[in-house]
Amino acid sequence: MTSLAFSLLFALAIAGYVWNLMAARSIRQSGARMHSLSGFHGMYSFLLAVVPVMVLILVWQVLKGPVIDRMVLGGLPPGTLDGVNAGAVQLILSEIKSLAGGRTFGTPEDWKIEAAERLVGLRQTAAYSLVGLVAVVAGGLVLFARLRVGAEFRARHRVERIVSGLMIFCASVAIFVTLGIAGSLMFETYRFFERVPLTEFLFGLNWEPQIPLREDQIAAEGAFGWIPVFLGTIVITVVALFIAIPVGLLSGIYLNEFAPRRMRAVAKPILEILAGVPTVVYGFFAILTVAPAIRSAGAALGIDIAPNTALAAGSVMGIMLIPFISSFADDALSAVPQALRDGALGLGATRAEMMTTVLFPAAIPGIVGGILLAVSRAIGETMIVVMAAGLIAKMTINPLDSVTTVTVQIVTLLIGDTSFDNPKTLAAFALGMMLFLVTLVINVFALRIVRKYREAYD
């Protein structure tokens, strides 16, 4: 029935478009100077009908369920629900709904069957009235739009305003979703800090989130200090950046300025393929190739190295980040005007001098942007570290040791059967919140640095 309402709306709107278009054309043909092109008059009618009626249908759909429920419950024989608690009322309601859907369990009481019949009736009435409402409102709007067609009517301005309103709506969707995510994170984090003191979480040096789930279970009391976990993230991120920044920057510079055309034509797509490799495949690579190689290299040198090292996970993550940094560097360097290259070369600079003294400083904002994005990715990267880093939180900055990261802990805390009212599960949200804050701070900080030191070239 809803789809009928939608089809009706669109049919009316299209009819309104054609109607207005024809009307505007005939005015134009009669020789009058129109303010707007005929198409805008048509578009005005279409948008005027579609936008508000669409909102109306959505609101109707949201409100329909609860309103019908209340009407069904209100129509039950008096006294039926006396002394019944809220949960039981919901149970009765769903039994009525099952009956209405044709699924009968056991032998229901007569008043339930009666209520189910009434529910079916109400639903049908609702559907018919929605279609009727859509027809009346959309038809009215189309008629209204038709009446406004005239040489003086500024249809273009109206259409532009409606379209820019739609664009603002789309832009705000992203903003509100972000706020929503942050809000839900904050709510769960608050519940976590009701159970575990903030100071223990922020300054604790122990991370052992195993706590008894049942009263009679034998387990240690959990400890929730996030520092060792975050330290692990930092170690792996630093290792990754140690590989990604030099390799990425130099390959970006090479591709942009020094590579012969043919080399560039081959190398650039390959780098882009590297960016498209799924992280789980990088995980395989880390655990099956890189980690054993590091381990055997360590054995050859007489060092005992853990099977899950920060070095293995971090270096593979670094490889994953190379294409990010190199393509950002390449783009930023390409955006520097040719005139600056000519200027430097014309003064007798070598290409290397031109790169280091003119192009690179001018491209710094873009390059730092790429590096920041890489840092955010490294901190938030999950799959590689889940596969290749360890699970035990240790206070260490030795990259040859096994460390765990914030994302790995979030994953392990939320895997399996969990109840959402104990600190073990809620800790995942607190960790997520910290991750969010850290990335935010890095971004804000770096943006300010870039703005301060950028060499604007336009």
Partner: protein, 265 residues
């Protein structure tokens, strides 16, 4: 110089600085410059005029090997600077460009301070031993470009913040700071207003005392005002080359006459 009639301008002949013989330039298959022979004299302003696409900028860019930076461009023929072939394998284009400075059509100051813009060339060529040396070079270059008085109090502010005419004079200062012997100017006034243009033209006339200046221009009035020698290019050919007064008052070639009287181009 403005009240010196073209015909009465005395032609003083200086020694030849740059000499080109049989120069051809190809962009891929396309021949942009066809068998050009020209002698550019020292302490003289030589103007290249001609309609758009006639190859005058391309030829100018041959003189400091800026065409090397374009992959598909190749230069054939002989160009000598002080008798030395500049396309010889022994010549480093980087050294050459330090000797043959260039000012571009659009002012292109680096996104650095005024001081660093002017000091750029001297720094990369190791011309200053100390900060004091560099200060002196920068001041001298800015004075020579007639910009010192306007910017001396804000040497550390960005060069991109200056007005268009000031930016172009900054680029000239940047070019003369490396003490070149020849200054190539590729339509240096095309992005400037008439007042800034007059300042730059006056500057070009002063620069003639020390340098050989080659200027590409679209404006025939400008060529007549600033140059002693004029070369007229048409469709890749050097049609006529001679004293500016003679070119503008008594051209030998009918194409030159058509162009300067406004019938072609």
């Amino acid at each position: 110089m403005y009240d010196n009639p073209l015909t009465k301008r005395t032609a003083v002949t200086h020694e030849v600085k740059i000499s080109a013989r049989g120069v051809n330039v190809f962009y891929g298959e396309n021949r942009a410059i066809k068998d050009v022979d020209v002698d550019i004299e020292d302490k003289t302003v030589t103007a290249f005029i001609g309609p758009s696409g006639c190859g005058k900028s391309t030829f100018l860019r041959c003189l400091n090997r800026m065409n090397d930076t374009i992959d598909i461009c190749s230069v054939k023929g002989l160009i000598t600077l002080d008798g030395e072939d500049i396309y010889a394998p022994s010549i480093d284009p980087v050294q050459l460009r330090a000797k043959v400075g260039m000012v571009f059509q659009k002012p292109n100051p680096f996104p650095k301070s005024i001081y660093d813009n002017v000091g750029y060339g001297p720094k990369i060529h190791g011309m200053a031993q100390s900060r004091a040396d560099l200060d002196e070079i920068v001041e001298r270059a800015l004075r020579r470009a007639a910009l010192w008085e306007e910017v001396k109090d804000r040497l550390s502010s960005p060069g991109t913040g200056l007005s268009g005419g000031q930016q172009q004079r900054l680029c000239i200062a940047r070019a003369v700071a490396t003490e070149p012997e020849v200054l190539l100017m590729d339509e240096p006034c095309s992005a400037l207003d008439p007042i800034a243009t007059a300042q730059v033209e006056e500057l070009i006339d002063e620069l003639r005392e020390q340098y050989s200046v080659v200027i590409v221009t679209h404006s025939m009035q400008q060529a007549a005002r600033v140059s002693q020698k004029t070369a007229f290019f048409h469709l890749g050919h050097l049609v006529e080359f001679g004293e500016t007064g003679q070119i503008f008052t008594n051209p030998h070639d009918p194409r030159t006459e058509s162009y300067i009287t406004g019938r072609i181009g």
